[in-house]
């Protein structure tokens, strides 16, 4: 056990943590203020005359974009899991030719800069008519998220007891049966963790919809927020209110499932 510290330590830590999360606070209160108040000198630390109007207007404007974000995030989640889940079954439990190479390829694709893949994909997708479609965005996001998911899942799935799988094979169960009725249920915590991370990354992604969706009505919130950044100046209060609305789903997920997020991220980083 680590050494214990009392409430004084908590207050010190609270101060540091408050500094780190302060941007979120200023975004939240910015949504209640007029543009003059947002740029007031000296700056306000509380909204002087809070108005709910900007949040209401931002929400109405963003509603279609929120719908698109949900479609893209859940679509990516489903496709990524469907493609990624079977791979670690082979990579962790069986002898298979060139296993090291396949594992390396997943890591390699994950290391590639987004731009290096997105720009040639844009040209390929232009030919395949996948520009301005949800499926194009979902497919492109999966290219980055499948390797990410495979690497994390692998580190969880190593722990599934090989003896169970061997026993089932001897009993004559098929691979698919073993995969669905033994392997997946026993990896549930890892799958949950990966699902949460994939959702968060797909929800927040910027470059993929920026490159692949030019049609305003199909844009997710990450790009949709640009409606408040017009050519003749930024509507800062609505931008901040909209930003806050856009942040609420991932924030809720993070506060409810913080442990899963942390476990997934560390698993992906260390266990090569």
């Amino acid at each position: 056990m680590r050494k214990k510290r009392g409430w004084k330590w908590s207050i010190l830590v609270a101060g540091v943590v408050a500094l780190i999360v302060s941007p979120l606070y200023f975004i939240a209160i910015g949504g209640f203020m007029s543009t003059e108040e947002i740029f007031y000198k000296p700056p306000y630390f509380f909204p002087p005359r809070p108005s709910f109007q900007y949040y209401r207007e931002a929400f109405v404007t963003l509603l279609p974009y929120l719908k698109n974000s949900f479609i893209i995030a859940f679509g990516t989640l489903l496709l990524t899991l469907a493609i990624a889940l079977p791979a670690p079954f082979v990579l962790t439990k069986f002898r298979f030719p060139a296993k090291g190479l396949w594992s390396f390829l997943f890591a390699f694709v994950q290391m590639l800069p987004y731009a290096a893949v997105v720009i040639p994909l844009f040209l390929m997708f232009t030919r395949l008519r996948l520009i301005n479609s949800y499926s194009g965005v979902i497919l492109a996001l999966s290219v980055f998220l499948v390797p990410f998911a495979v690497i994390i899942l692998r580190s969880y799935m190593v722990a599934v007891p090989s003896g169970l799988i061997e026993a089932a094979l001897i009993d004559g169960a098929g691979y698919f049966k073993i995969f669905t009725s033994i392997f997946l249920p026993l990896s549930a915590p890892g799958i949950a963790s990966v699902a949460i991370l994939v959702f968060l990354l797909a929800w927040g992604n910027f470059i993929v919809p920026l490159a692949f969706i030019k049609e305003e009505s199909m844009r997710p919130v990450s790009i949709g927020l640009y409606v408040f950044i017009g050519q003749y100046g930024v509507q800062w209060n609505k931008l901040m209110a909209g930003s806050m609305i856009y942040t609420i789903p991932p924030l809720v997920v993070a506060l409810l499932a913080g442990k899963s997020i942390v476990a997934g991220l560390t698993a992906g980083a260390f266990k090569e």
């Binding site: 214990k4 439990k93 290219v143 390797p147 910027f206 790009i223 942390v262």
Partner: protein
């Protein structure tokens, strides 16, 4: 375990097909495109002519390319060094048991959880000439004239680096903190009996024991920071005058603002070469660590 290869292959097929067709093929395709005179029209019509290394020659003569390369190096190195220092100090703070620890830990993850468009827009306001930071510094009497954090050639990339350090705190914290939890408590106890102070324990136990984790975090940090695109695109879009571009935003603006896909992919090929070089180098470092 042995298994029927053909059946097992079908488990790997979907993911391998995806990354080969939409991950590996595109970066090979970049090499092909970079040797051609590709813009959107010549691409769609299929009339892009081979131009040899002309795109590379143009890029290497472009001042903005060198600026973007310089920025990428500065941005990556400074980000990683400071992210790791801040992450490490924060991990030390959390390396005790205290009330509400779990809640605070969840809060530290918030910069990672916030969509980049949100944090980017925030810093665009926070750092603007009449934004929060200048108004605050002015109000407490530290400055008279606003500092142009993101609107001059000299400062923009450093301000962006500062923002990126903040963005990297959660990941660096959590990796270093998890590493610290693995260090056996007995080491600290026996050092305590020998009369070591708190900082001596950090210097002689925590840091040396954490070395493999620090190396892994450093390598991961290099890769993740080299990938950064969105932060710069949202806060400065490479401006003013293209002087805060990273290689990633520079190639993107060549492609989508100027439709010069040939030059854009030439920059991408250079980036890919850097990534491959880094992988070779880092696998050597990590191999020597073992």
């Amino acid at each position: 375990m042995k298994g029927a290869r053909i059946t097992l292959f079908f488990f790997l097929l979907p993911s391998l097909a995806l990354i080969f067709i939409f991950g590996i093929y595109p970066i090979v395709y970049n090499v092909f495109l970079s040797l051609r005179d590709v813009n959107l029209i010549s691409y769609i019509r299929g009339t892009a002519k081979p131009v040899g290394f002309a795109n590379y020659r143009d890029i290497l003569q472009d001042q903005l390319f060198w600026r973007a390369l310089f920025n990428t190096i500065i941005f990556t190195l400074l980000s990683i060094v400071f992210q790791m220092i801040v992450g490490f100090l924060l991990a030390l703070l959390f390396n005790f048991e205290f009330p509400l620890k779990g809640l605070f830990q969840a809060f530290v993850m918030i910069p990672w959880v916030m969509p980049i468009m949100v944090s980017g827009s925030f810093f665009r306001w926070f750092l603007s000439d009449n934004g929060f930071l200048n108004n605050f510094l002015n109000a407490v009497g530290l400055i008279k004239e606003p500092i142009r954090w993101i609107t001059t050639e000299k400062t923009a990339i450093y301000s962006l680096t500062g923002v990126n350090i903040w963005l990297g705190i959660p990941l660096n914290f959590i990796l270093l903190y998890t590493g610290m939890q693995q260090i056996p408590e007995e080491l600290y106890e026996s050092a305590g009996i020998d009369g070591a102070s708190g900082w001596e324990k950090v210097w002689y136990i925590t840091l040396p024991m954490l070395r493999p984790v620090v190396v892994a975090t450093f390598v991961l940090g290099c890769i993740l920071t080299f990938k950064v695109f969105d932060l710069v695109w949202i806060v400065t879009k490479g401006g003013p005058g293209g002087t805060s571009h990273l290689l990633s935003t520079f190639s993107y603006s060549l492609a989508f603002d100027r439709f010069q896909f040939g030059k854009s992919t030439a920059v991408l090929v250079i980036m890919q070469a850097i990534v491959v070089l880094f992988i070779l180098l880092s696998s050597r470092i990590q191999w020597e660590e073992r």
